[in-house]
Symmetry: C2
Subunit: 205 residues, 2 copies
């Protein structure tokens, strides 16, 4: 299994000096710990940058120096599970990983993504909201490219890039969470609907 930790979840996370000053590292750990505590207690929406700074015992400027924005913090909190998800659909066992036909991989990708959103949805939503270019975040670009790749593997002729965009839109965390939480849609129905959708899109060629 390759190490895929080089796939950054947010832009610019690899810039700057390689080494981190000890106080910076200490504060980063404090902040991440405090953030997880606060989310445990108040939910993702209940985490404010002021409270986080207070809980971690650092200044507010330090929080923004570390993570750039609230969305950046959320992405950092998601980065482990996100890297795991990426590893699974890129290098893991089929049908999610390579080895299965494109269509099966597409279906599995949607199912895995839906499961991911159901588990980490609040964080993902918080990471998206108020992120001006949430569509250009490296992770989002990677999902998009992956779908496009699978479409091409299935012989998609008509504008695979835009087809991938359309399919990506379907998996938007905000929409999925809204369907489940507000309208009480069963996750299984979402997966089944995704299967129908991608099957028709691919077969229609």
């Amino acid at each position: 299994m390759w190490d895929v930790s080089f796939i950054p979840l947010r832009p610019g996370s690899l810039s700057g000096p390689v080494t981190e000053r000890s106080d910076a590292a200490r504060n980063r750990e404090r902040l991440l710990g405090a953030a997880r505590e606060l989310i445990e207690e108040c939910g993702a929406d209940g985490l404010t940058m002021d409270r986080l700074a207070e809980r971690a015992g650092v200044g507010k400027g330090t929080v923004f120096r570390r993570f750039g924005s609230r969305a950046g913090l959320m992405m950092t909190l998601l980065s482990d599970s996100e890297a795991d998800f990426q590893a699974r659909f890129m290098f893991g066992p089929p049908p999610l990983g390579p080895g299965a036909p494109g269509l099966e991989r597409l279906v599995a990708f949607g199912a895995a993504r839906i499961a991911y959103v159901l588990e980490y949805g609040e964080l993902a939503r918080a990471a998206d909201e108020s992120a001006y270019n949430r569509f250009d975040v490296p992770a989002a670009v990677l999902w998009h490219r992956h779908i496009e790749l699978l479409l091409r593997a299935e012989g998609m002729d008509a504008d695979p890039r835009l087809m991938a965009m359309a399919l990506s839109a379907t998996l938007d965390p905000e929409r999925l969470l809204h369907a489940v939480r507000v309208h009480g849609i069963e996750p299984g129905r979402l997966v089944e609907s995704w299967r129908e959708l991608v099957t028709r899109v691919v077969r229609g060629a």
Copy 2:
């Protein structure tokens, strides 16, 4: 042509007394005029509620009393064009209106929606953003139901409601605008891709 102005763009816009106090009406006109001015000068994103109040010569509380929120203001500004759009796809001439086959109407709906977003996109985006339940706004529900109706008319068997949700996601203003403005996608490609998508979804039955 029917009068479809009864289709509210935002929830609650029909509640309360039928008559409006004269000073309230005067201030509403002032506010709408000032809002259009500000958007002309600074763009939709440059319109802040404080500046709007100042420009209109009213207190800030009055702005929120009128429109409830920034999103509500944006919806009010969109209500004329939105009512027109609704009238066209519900009662207008085919292929957008009734009289054409479901698939053709679906294609026309997407094309019309894309054109709409290209014209009023900034406002639509501003109306969506930070609106907690943007998916349950009456107008959005109407679009969704319309797509679902057309899918059923084409004999869609598998969960037309969720299929309609997936197709709606594709027409999200934020995504469309992002594709056009950031990635420079030609609107014609968007329309063509929509045609491919709905054709495959419908025919795949």
